[in-house]
């Protein structure tokens, strides 16, 4: 065992490592979307935000030499796309789902356009903390090389859980999501609350994107995200708009997404593409199990168009 040949144990180890590594973008997008949806609006455009975040993080990290500036740039880009979404949705008779689809196409297109010169160069990447120093097994050590952003995300989930329950801001967001009339009666601008909630959601989704280009897989190319953003939006639905459940669901998804590459590394290559589709199949399966035509989902914000 000590010589690094751990046989089939590679697979669960890689899935475990993947759960941590691959789950980070899912985690950030789903936490961001959780905030937006709790305010009563759905932003399907986070797929585009994720790709734009990845591109701008890579670009800024390359130009400035600091990956953390890249992360910040990704967050700001995401917040700007969020503001665009919220701004258009504030117009009368505009459907938030359709705007999300539009921004999904716009964000991806813009990222591909601006990111063309970034495919070749190598940008400084985010550092990782080595939690596996005590082990001799290289696979375990690589699984335990954990990025700081993941730890931020893990801390953010309970913080959001607490904030939704106890802070003034959490209550305002929930009020806007449950009954816009009630929020208005309290003298608050529902559109303003949703604008801020969508911007914060976009900020987090942008950071999720920066993880893709600056840590894992750790480069910029046009195939970087294939549906992680939209999967994360679906994930919020079966996480019942609960940030803690978003955390567990993201970990499960990361594990599912790591299954294909893990099996390939031990020589199981048939069905590689099918295993790569595991997160989408898992999402669909969980949505089929947890949704019901007869009742609205428990925990669903009443103002959310997707649950009506």
């Amino acid at each position: 065992m000590a010589d690094g040949s751990i046989g089939l144990w590679t697979v669960p180890l890689a899935v475990f490592g993947g759960a941590i590594r691959v789950s980070t973008p899912f985690l950030f997008v789903s936490l961001g979307e959780c905030i937006t949806e709790r305010s009563g609006r759905i932003n399907l455009g986070l797929e585009g935000t994720l790709v734009m975040g990845a591109m701008s993080a890579y670009g800024i990290s390359y130009v400035s030499g600091s990956p953390w500036l890249g992360v910040l740039a990704a967050g700001i880009t995401g917040a700007m796309l969020g503001a665009l979404h919220a701004g258009i949705c504030s117009l009368p008779r505009v459907n938030d789902i359709a705007v999300g689809i539009a921004l999904m196409l716009f964000g991806t297109g813009l990222a591909f356009y601006l990111g063309k010169p970034l495919i070749e160069p190598t940008a400084p990447r985010l550092p990782a903390i080595d939690f596996g120093w005590w082990s001799d097994i290289p696979q375990l050590r690589s699984a335990l090389r954990i990025n700081v952003l993941f730890l931020f995300g893990v801390v953010l989930a309970p913080v959001l859980y607490w904030a939704f329950r106890t802070t003034r801001w959490g209550l305002l967001i929930r009020t806007a999501g449950e009954s816009s009339d009630a929020a208005r009666a309290m003298g608050h601008s529902v559109l303003g609350i949703r604008l801020r909630a969508t911007m914060v959601g976009g900020f987090l989704a942008g950071i999720g994107g920066s993880f893709l280009s600056l840590f894992y897989p750790g480069s910029w190319n046009e195939g970087l995200s294939s549906g992680q953003g939209i999967t994360a939006v679906a994930l919020v639905i079966f996480a019942r708009w609960d940030p803690m459940l978003c955390l567990w669901a993201s970990l499960a998804f990361g594990g599912a997404a790591a299954l294909g590459p893990a099996l390939q590394s031990v020589g199981v290559t048939s069905g590689y593409h099918l295993f790569n589709a595991a997160p989408y199949i898992l999402t669909l399966a969980i949505m089929i199990i947890t949704c019901s035509p007869k009742r609205t989902l428990t925990g669903a914000p009443a103002e959310l168009s997707i649950t009506k």
Partner: protein, 368 residues
Amino acid sequence: MTSEVADSAEAVSVAPAADAGFLQRHGATIEYILIPGAALAGALVVFGLFVALFGKNPIDLYFYMYQGAFGTWFSWQNTLTRAAPLILTALCAALPAQLGLVIIGGEGALLIGALSATSMALTLPFAPPLVVQIAMAAAGMVGGGLWILLSGALRQYRGVNETISSLLLVYIALAILNHLVEGAMRDPASLNKPSTHEIGAANMIGTIPGTDVHWGLVFGLIAAVASYVLIYHTTFGFAARVAGGNIRAAKIVGLSVGKLILTVCFMAGSCAGLAGMVEVAAVQGRTNANLAAGYGYTGILVAFLARQNPLAVIPVAILLGGINASGGLLQRRLGLPDASVLVLQGIIFVFVLASDALYGRIGFLKNK
């Protein structure tokens, strides 16, 4: 205040508005042309400014876009060839929209349709070409139809949101396609680009005489006109629009909403599946990952720009086909990246949706 009310989900205005008096109807028709036209113009201006930021001359941009799309007979043919699948994938979004469903998975139905059609052609190696072509079209339509039917059925029986499920199914369809193309259905001779065996030159559907435009365009035109007749001139279409307008009213008058959803989703998927068959039988000659060229996504934009009207889908698809067709010229002459077409599409989409706010607010069209 009104904006707040409209902001709620009841404002999902994908279904066409109900008719009112003659004057209003006239005004509405003008609006349906004027407002999307203005949105398109606005988007072109913004795209021009965007391109100017990168040091390109916007006037050159518009000139080459026109040249590449509609400037010559050659570019017209290129445009129409690209419009054919767009008409069909747009119907995949526009038909469910009559019922208030937002289906964005046309790309997946196109891929499954292409796979089904190719499989059908490969299982009939000795049949006469016409038989093979009809069987391919049928297989493509059934395959694509079942794919979107799945989203409709999940919506109807499990309450799963059809927008998200149809998009997830795109990624699953792509995985199935890659799996088969690199495995069971792979032509060992296709080394760099894993592909299925070719369906054979005799089985290709060919071009309309006197042009380089393939027959897929005619399939698209027929499908669009048939959808229009179905939606606006049959009891079935009327029932669908009632259910799309007010689902409770539809249930009260005894309409079987479930059956409507399933039928319409199947038809919508059939259109996109037929687009897949056309791409195989008229352009690619085989199935490979090239088929995922984004026609399904552009189709959504076409449907929204056409305000979900199957007849309006035709000119809009030609317009968007033209924008796609001009991409090559923009790349060669102006050195713009190929993604510039995607950026323009995104800008158009954003403008079109924002312009929804203008309906009923244009002074000179208002009834006094």
